[in-house]
């Protein structure tokens, strides 16, 4: 039941996209996100869409798998769309009681929906092709300059790694505890809101206890291996830029050039 969540999931693969340095991928993702917010005309989307389609094709992740992430936010997108259709001033399209839909609203709504969907696809492509560990390594490396002003970058990255590592474990455990309490006649599905909130206690307490126990064991295990934080720590997997990264960055620059031109086209 809990395992159906796909957002932020990794799709195993061996493609060029998977092999890119995580730092490159993070930077490109940020650049794409910013550019998506700056696009003002429909034509501006075209280069991004083509670029994303090419990336999906290259990465070997099934197209449907990428799009499945959109399902989770379908309601949000729909509400945004409806608000835009009805709340924008302009030429009247039709009237529905006190609500007026406008042509301008329709076009704006379409624009918004496309933008949100593309934002989601861009970010899910990053997590689909990068393992959580690589992702945190990349973030740590990118934020390194902040160490100069005493920001504990390494510690934050380590915390993130551990949190990501334990999400599946804790979900599995939740599932198990829920089953065990249902076997004792616990009922999570019916009753008033208060009753249902109370029914969570038999799940949350064992879950917290086991999370604390795990944290404790992990801390001891880390200390036994002389973990001291950042100082003098080396990495088994070093991050290296390769020609692939240069190529990717170049491609993105070309993309932005095209986008700049496309933005200029007037319909």
């Amino acid at each position: 039941m809990l395992k159906d969540i796909t957002l932020g999931q990794y799709y195993k693969g061996d493609s060029a996209v998977h092999k890119l340095d995580p730092r490159t991928k993070i930077l490109i993702t940020i650049a794409l996100l910013v550019s998506l917010f700056m696009i003002k005309s429909w034509w501006g989307f075209l280069p991004v869409v083509l670029f994303l389609l090419a990336t999906i094709f290259l990465s070997g992740v099934p197209f449907l798998f990428v799009v499945k992430g959109l399902k989770a936010i379908a309601v949000l997108v729909m509400i945004t769309g409806l608000f835009n259709v009805f709340l924008t001033d302009g030429t009247v399209w039709f009237k529905f009681y006190f609500l007026t839909a406008t042509y301008e609203g329709l076009s704006l709504a379409g624009f918004m929906v496309v933008r949100i969907c593309l934002l989601i696809v861009v970010t899910s492509l990053l997590t689909l092709t990068t393992t959580p560990i690589m992702l945190t390594d990349g973030i740590e490396s990118l934020l390194k300059p902040l160490k100069k002003i005493k920001v504990p970058v390494h510690e934050f990255a380590m915390m993130m790694t551990i949190a990501l590592r334990f999400i599946p474990t804790i979900m599995e455990e939740t599932d198990k505890i829920m089953k065990a309490q249902s076997a004792r006649g616990a009922d999570f599905e019916t009753g008033s809101l208060l009753k249902r909130a109370k029914a969570l206690i038999p799940i949350l307490i064992p879950l917290f206890i086991s999370a604390f126990r795990r944290a404790d064991e992990l801390a001891v295990a880390m200390e036994c291996r002389c973990y001291h934080g950042d100082t003098n720590r080396t990495k088994m997997k070093q991050l290296h830029y390769t020609w692939l990264d240069c190529l990717a960055l170049l491609l993105v620059l070309v993309l932005f050039a095209f986008q700049f031109i496309a933005e200029g086209i007037k319909i």
Binding site: K3, T6, Q9, K176, I177, K179, A180, Q181, S182, A183, R184, G185, A186, D187, I201, P202, I205, P206, I209, S210
Partner: protein
Amino acid sequence: MIEIKSLTHTYKNNGVRTDAIKDINLTIPDGKITAIIGHTGSGKSTLIQHLNGLLKPDSGDILLDGISIYDSKKISMKEVRRKVGLVFQYPEYQLFEETVYKDIAFAPKNYGCTKEEIDERVHLAAKAVGLKESNLQKSPFELSGGQKRKAAIAGVLAMKPEVLVLDEPAAGLDPFGREKILYEIGKICSEEAISVVLVSHSMEEVATCAHKIAVMHGGEIKMTGSPSEIFTKVKELEQMRLDIPQITKILNELRLKGISVPEDIFSVKEAANWILKNIPVNKGN
């Protein structure tokens, strides 16, 4: 009595399919201990989670005293879960109340028992698993591992189930605690007239207490029978990565040496008695 009829379950996770159990047919008789044995990943836990409806099968049926447990007109899922008490592997991780007493009372409370009834059931359940009265007012987290497990089993027993299903009840306990838990389970079966389903991956554990053994391998039931029937099939068992009890191995060695040992000796005690009686001891050299 529980009848499992061609039960099949496939786990589906993001397109990955695992055939956990395939076409299982098994009858669990009343008032007896039925052991389900198989190595890691053979589908034991999956199978028993069907017995009280926690998992839904892809096909097949389970009859509880002749009524399908999926027939919501005749029996509610909640009632199925009461009649078939399921104790998970490492059940001590499900304890959550302030006191052991309250934790054991959780199930009867869910089933709407009165205060007096709950009190009576808690004390009976604690006694049945051999948990001391003085432990009832303690926090569950003050108990030892073995005591915690007993408390968790009592928490299921307090529902007064007709069938008690235990997933590896002795896992992770020391040899003494293991023997004690198995002894209490045997006692519960005979004294409370509850049928017991015992999941294990060790023959040694169930050899002496089970009346019926079902051997699972790769999601299927490969053989069923009484312990004496099962332990004669040493070759097949070893192919399924299962070990027969050590004492049975010793007796088999004796058989190889030409000594005709009866086929139905399984406990160390019986074997020792037979050897003392039938094999002459050379005193001196």
